[in-house]
Amino acid sequence: MSDLTKLTIAGARDALRKGDVTSLELTEACLSAIDGADALNAFVHKTPEIARERAKAADARIKAGDAPDMCGIPVGIKDLFCTKGVDSQAASRILEGFKPEYESTVSQNLVDAGAVMLGKLNMDEFAMGSSNETSAYGNAVNPWRREGDDTQLTPGGSSGGSAAAVAADLCLAATGTDTGGSIRQPAAFTGTVGIKPTYGRCSRWGVVAFASSLDQAGPMTKDVRDAAIMLQAMCSHDAKDSTSVDFPVPDFEAALTGDIKGKTIGIPKEYHMDGMPQEIEDLWTRGKEMLADAGAKIVDISLPHTKYALPAYYVIAPAEASSNLARYDGVRFGHRAKLAQGDGITEMYEKTRAEGFGAEVQRRVMVGTYVLSAGFYDAYYNRARKVRALIKKDFEDVFAQGVDAILTPATPSSAFGLGEMKDADPVKMYLNDVFTVTVNLAGLPGIAVPAGLDSKGLPLGLQLIGRPWEEGDLLNTAYALEKAAGFVAKPAKWW
């Protein structure tokens, strides 16, 4: 039975349609795997009753012969998505006990497609973090370990619970969200695939907001084909999100031909960072060779403002967060502090937010408040938005030169040990997003594909960045890279 959880979405879809397995059997296998994996702390709210109910409904639908691809597929949902009647607290103490009266559009799209929710997945608080260590639930743990070393490693962040759950075969796939790399970095740290689509592809409605101009949802899966299948089910135009685009959603899976002959792949020179480990450089070179062998043309390109992406991000994201998180005031939902005699409403706000927000969230809200405050708005916030325009133009220029996709490393290192960054200053942790954050600032689609193991036996990922709205083409290039890389390693089970 345990092998059922190792299925891909595509494999399970075919087995379900042939009648070789039922959704209920798949679901039960996942629920047992989840119960046996508490040491990973990936699932933080389990929903077995909902899962069984949806699995039975999916089985009926499959029997009736008109089931979409995701029908009967057991998935995990990141805690950032509001799910009706189920705890949705963005891994924050301030939303403790919050049970939304509504369902996010993305998770509703999955429900409508017949997908089976197994539970809610761990993450960094409000998606602010790169190691899962800011979670109010305590961190999720990476199922991967260094060879001959049982140090617990981070699954990355913020979608660390999603990445850990998919890598450990607790579910067939999971939802993630990505504001600066929160899908792609954890995917790279766990040997899984994660795609952040073009800004506007997935509705943000019902997804707890961090930085609204950067946030996008996307799937985290075991391979590229699954990413195509699940992304298609998640995307839609949604009148409830004014930035959701009214374009038809293409058949992403049909785009996977594996043929990339004649495609032009750009290699940005600015992504050669000082002090980058040789293993990452080597992986990048191998990736280039693999795409060239598959018939792509490799060209050197320049994205001159790359260096300024992280500092611009750390103005824009906290600024938007300080505004978005103003709603957590102890009045309408979640936590309210116990008040002292004579405390008024200001004390209630201040105590509630001090108790409810963790250190990193407080830090970002306050940095955001500062850069938006009178006298600094132009110097910080407006300047960052101008630099953002230049970063986007860098990409537009290379796409105009005929570049179809851009190949970069996904992360500057493999997964690091939990607690290893404890004493580092916050900026050091922010450097994890150095290769991914440009993509959010420019609103582009980006995908992380596992491409090899480092000398410690840990997975490493490569990132491909595509043209806006051309996820199908991007997925196809990723598919060619995946085939050439032939990454099949799995973490040895210790949990």
Partner: protein, 95 residues
């Protein structure tokens, strides 16, 4: 640009987050580290560049100005820490 404890306290107040006095020096130091990192943006020539307002060039959709939902007071109040008689209850707002 260097942030002192007084500025840190002011920012905490604006953000409505209670920070104890003894935590202010460390907070000011963190702000300075982050702002020091952000200062790099001053190296960029942004003359004549418009600040980005929308990452995807598109017109926001409009809809009829009509009521599309409502009449769900119980749901609106369901998650409130303190709801009474159909309202959110809060401590005193004015002296």
């Amino acid at each position: 640009m260097s942030i002192d404890e007084g500025t840190a306290a002011k920012v905490a107040k604006l953000a409505r987050i209670k920070v104890e006095d003894d935590a202010l020096p460390a907070l000011a130091e963190e702000f300075n580290t982050i702002l020091g990192f952000i200062e790099q943006l001053n190296e960029v020539d942004v003359d004549g560049v418009e600040p980005m307002t929308s990452v995807t060039p598109m017109k926001l959709k409009r809809r009829e100005d009509v009521v599309t939902d409502g009449d769900q007071q119980d749901k609106v109040l369901a998650n409130a820490p303190d709801a009474r008689e159909g309202f959110f209850a809060v401590p005193k707002v004015v002296e």
